[in-house]
Symmetry: C4
Subunit: 281 residues, 4 copies
C-alpha cells in the first residue's frame, strides 16, 4: 500500500514537473514559437496598460471615458497578477525570482492598482511597468543592442567611483552655495530656507534654470554668475570620465586578438595579418 | 512601311534622349558652366523664397506688403513646380528620383503652398525648402566639407545603436519621473496629467528648464533635484559615445599609408606590416 | 639641585609628549580602534550639526523647535571648538596645522556661530562643516576613491592653464555681449546696467536661462540667438580639454609594467624597451 | 649744395628712424624695462577705463558720480587716441598695423566715445577695450599660456569645417522647427512670427530655456519634447569634434621626438631611451 502511494506521489510530482516545465518554457523563454508569442502579447499588453494609465490621468479624457479606462486598468492588473502567480508557480526557486530585478519590477507593476483602493492616486505609479518592456530586447533577439548596452554599462560601472567622487564634490558645493545664497538673498527673494537654497543651487549648477527662484540683489547675482560658470565648467568632468571609459571599452572590444608569432596585440577587427611581423592571424 | 516607322521612332527616341540628356546635364549636374549657373540660380531662389515666407509671417510686414509677398510666394512655388516636373521628365528612372531623399524634399518644398488653398497657414511649412540648399555643397565643390560631413555621419551611424539604447533609457526614465511628479504635485501645481508630467521631466532632464511648470512642494523639489543631477550626469553618455566614435573615425582617416603589395589602406601609425597581406610597409 | 630639576623637566616634557602623542593618535589618525571611533563620531556629529542648521533655516520648523535647535547648534559648536583646541595642543607644529587646508576648514566651521552673536544670520554659514566630512575617505579606508579623486585632480591640474585661457575668453565675451545688449535693449527691458547685462550674458552663455531678464526687441533676440549658439558650441572646449587629460591620465595608469632593470613604471602598451634605461622589457 | 641737402635729409631720416625705433621699442615691445612698464600702465588704464564705463551704466552711481565718470572716460579715450596715433607714427608700415587684429581693436576701442557725441549710448561699446588686455600675455611673459592658447586654437581651427557643417545642420533644423511651431502654436501663444519661432527653437535646442515663449498646446509640447531630446543628443557632436581634435593636438605635442637609431616616434616627454630599440634619445 505504501509502495503504491509512493508511486502515485512520484507520478504526480513528475506530472507536476512536466506541467511546470512547459509553463516555464512558455513564460520565461522566447526560443519556442509559443514562448515568443507569449512575450510579444505581454509587451503589447504592457504598452497598452501604460497608455491606459496615461490617458486616465488627462482630466478631459477621464471625464468621458473614465469608467472604461478604470475597467481596462483593472483588466490589465488582474492579467499581470495571474501572470505573476504563474511565474512564481512554474519557476524552480520562487524566492530567487521574486527577489531578482525583474521579479521586483513585476511585483511593483501590479501593486499600485491594489494600493489605489486605499490611497487614491497611486494607481498612476503602475507606469513602472514600462521597465518590463526591457524584455523586448530578448523577444526581438536584439543581441547587438544587448552588446552595446553592456558596453555602456561596463563603461559606467568602471567610472562609478570617479562619478561618486564627483557627485560628492557637487553635493558639498550646492550645500555651501545654497546656504550662502540663503544668507545673502533672504526669504524676501524666494530663498525661504537652506533646503530651498540648495534646490536653487542644483537648478543653477545643472544649468536647468527654471527661474522660479532667482537672485535679485547685486551680490546674489554676482555669486550666481560664479556658480553658473563653475557648473558650466565642471560638467566637463563627468563627460570626460565617461568618454575616457567608453573610448577604452570600445578599443578593448577591438583589440583582443593576439599574434601567435610575435604575441603582438592591438590588431584591428579587419586585420588578416599581424601588423608588426606580418604573420597570418 | 513598318521599317520606316521604326526608324522614325528610333530617331524620335534618340532626339528625345538627346534633349533629355542635355536637360539632365543642366539640372542635375554642376560640372558644366550652364549646370553650375542653374544650381546657383536655384539656390538663390530657394534662399529668397524662404526669406519671403519668413517675412510674410511677421504681422507688421504682412499688413503692408502682404499682397506682394503672396505673389512672390506663388511665383517661387510655380517656378519650383516647373523645375520638379522637368526633373521628373529628364531623369532616367523618375520613380527612383521621386522616392530619393532629394526627390521627397523637392516635392515637400512645393506642396504646402497648394495645400494652403485648403488649409490656410500651411504655406509656412515651405521653409522645408531650406534642405534643398544642401545642394550648395555640390555647387561650390565643397568636397572637403562633404568629407567632414561624411565623417560625422559615419561616427553617428556607428554609434546609432548605443544612442538608441540610451534614448530608450531616457524615455523610460522621463515616463517614470513624470508620473511620480504627477502623483506628488498634482493638478494644482501645473502637473495636470501624466503626459504633462513627462513634458516637465523632459524639460528638466535635458536641462532646458523653461519654468512654465516647476515643482512647488518640498518632496517635488527634492525629486526634481535628483532628476536634474541625473540629467546632468547622463548627458555625459551620448557625448562619450559620439566622442569615442569621432576619435576612432579621425584616427582611421589619419593613416594614409598604402600597402604597395595589395594597395590596402587604413594602417595604424605604428604598423610595420600590412595587416591584410603581411607585406612590409 | 640643577640636575634634579633638569630631570624633572625632561620627565615632564616626556610625559607631556606621551600625552600629546596619545591624543594625536586619537584625533589625527584612524589606524587604531580608538582613533577610528573618534573620526566616526566626529563625522556623525558634523552630519547632525549640518542637518540642525538646515532645519533651523526652515521657518515652520524654527517656529516650533527653534529653541532646541539653537541649543543643539551651540552644543555642536562648543564640541568642535574643544576639538579644534585639542588639535592645536597635540599637533607638533600648531601653526602648520592652523594654516593647512583642513586647519582652515576646522576654524571656519566654528566661527560663524560666534559671529552670529554680532551679525545674526551668519550662523547658517556653518554648513562649511560639510567639507570636514572629507575625512570620511580616510576613516572608511576608501583608498580606491582617493586614487580616483587624485586622478581627477591630476587631470584638472594638468588642464588648469587651458581652462584659465578658456575662462578668460568667456569672461571677455560676456562683458562685450552684456554691454552690447545693454545698449540694444536698454533699461526698459530689464537690462538696467552693464553689470546686469553681463549677468544676463552669463545666464545665457552657460545655458542656465532663468528668464528673469530676456531680450524683447528683434535685434536683441537675434544677438541672443548668436550668444546661445556660441555658448552651446564652446561648452565643447572645456569638455574636450578635461576629456583629453582624463584619457591621458587613465592611459598612463594602465601601463603597470615595471622595468626589471631600473624599476621605472609608466611604459606604453607597445613599448619593447624601458624608456629610461633602455633595457628590454 | 645738393649733396649737403641730401646729407641733411639722410640725417633727418636717420634721426627720424632712431626716434621712431625708440618709440617702437617702448610701445610695441615688452623686452626692455621701459617697454614692460608702458605695457603694464596701458593694461591698468584699460582695466580702469572698462570699470569706469561699467560704473557709468549703473543709474544709482551715475546719478552721484556721473560728471566725474564722464570726465574719466574722456581722459582715457584721449589717452588711447594719443597712443593709437603714436603707434601709427612709429610703426614701419602703418597700413599693415591699422588692418591687423590688434590695430582694429585699438581703433574700435576709442571710436565709441566720439560716436557718443552724435549717438548717445554708444559710449558703452568701449568695453571692447577688454580685448586689448590680451596683450597681458606678452607683458607677463606667459609663454606657457600662449602655448596652451595656440593648442586650443589649433584644435578649433582643425575642427572648423566639421563645426561649420554641424552649425549648418543646426540652423536648418531651428528654421524648420521654428516654422512648424509657428503653424502649431500660432500668435496667441507668443509665437508671433517665424523669426520668433526660430528664436524659440534656438532657446530650446541650446537648452537655455528662458521660458519667455513656451508651447501651450499638447501637440506643441510634444514637438518641443522632441526638439529638446534632439538638442540634448546633438550637443554631443561639437563636443566630440573638439575633444577628438584636442586629444590629437595634445598627443602630437608630446610625440615630436624621433629615435636616431630606429626612427621610431611617439616617445613620452619623460623618456630618455627609445621604447622600441632602447637607444638613448
Amino acid at each position: 500500500m505504501k509502495h503504491f502511494l509512493d508511486v502515485e506521489k512520484a507520478k504526480k510530482k513528475h506530472a507536476h514537473r512536466k506541467w511546470q516545465a512547459a509553463l516555464h518554457e512558455l513564460i520565461f523563454e522566447a526560443e519556442t514559437r509559443a514562448g515568443w508569442a507569449f512575450d510579444l502579447i505581454l509587451i503589447i499588453s504592457i504598452g497598452l496598460s501604460v497608455i491606459t494609465v496615461m490617458l486616465d490621468s488627462v482630466a478631459s479624457i477621464r471625464d468621458v471615458y473614465g469608467g472604461f479606462l478604470y475597467g481596462l486598468e483593472w483588466f490589465f492588473t488582474i492579467l499581470f497578477t495571474i501572470e505573476y502567480g504563474l511565474r512564481l508557480l512554474c519557476v524552480g526557486r520562487p524566492v530567487l525570482y521574486a527577489t531578482s530585478f525583474f521579479g521586483i519590477i513585476d511585483l511593483l507593476a501590479i501593486l499600485p492598482t491594489y494600493l489605489a483602493l486605499f490611497f487614491p492616486g497611486t494607481q498612476y505609479l503602475t507606469v513602472i511597468r514600462i521597465f518590463r518592456v526591457l524584455r523586448i530586447f530578448r523577444v526581438l533577439k536584439l543581441v547587438t543592442y544587448l552588446g552595446e548596452a553592456r558596453l555602456l554599462l561596463t563603461a559606467l560601472h568602471a567610472s562609478r567611483r570617479k562619478i561618486e567622487v564627483f557627485l560628492y564634490a557637487v553635493i558639498a558645493k550646492v550645500i555651501i552655495f545654497g546656504s550662502i545664497m540663503y544668507v545673502i538673498e533672504g526669504e524676501a527673494h524666494g530663498f525661504t530656507s537652506i533646503p530651498r537654497g540648495i534646490y536653487w543651487a542644483i537648478v543653477t549648477m545643472t544649468t536647468v534654470g527654471y527661474g522660479d527662484i532667482s537672485p535679485q540683489t547685486d551680490l546674489g547675482q554676482a555669486l550666481a554668475s560664479f556658480v553658473m560658470i563653475m557648473g558650466y565648467a565642471i560638467i566637463a568632468v563627468p563627460t570626460g570620465i565617461v568618454t575616457a571609459e567608453i573610448t577604452l571599452a570600445s578599443r578593448e572590444k577591438i583589440t583582443t586578438r593576439v599574434c601567435h608569432q610575435c604575441s603582438a596585440e592591438g590588431h584591428d577587427l579587419d586585420a588578416k595579418c599581424c601588423k608588426f611581423c606580418g604573420a597570418e592571424l
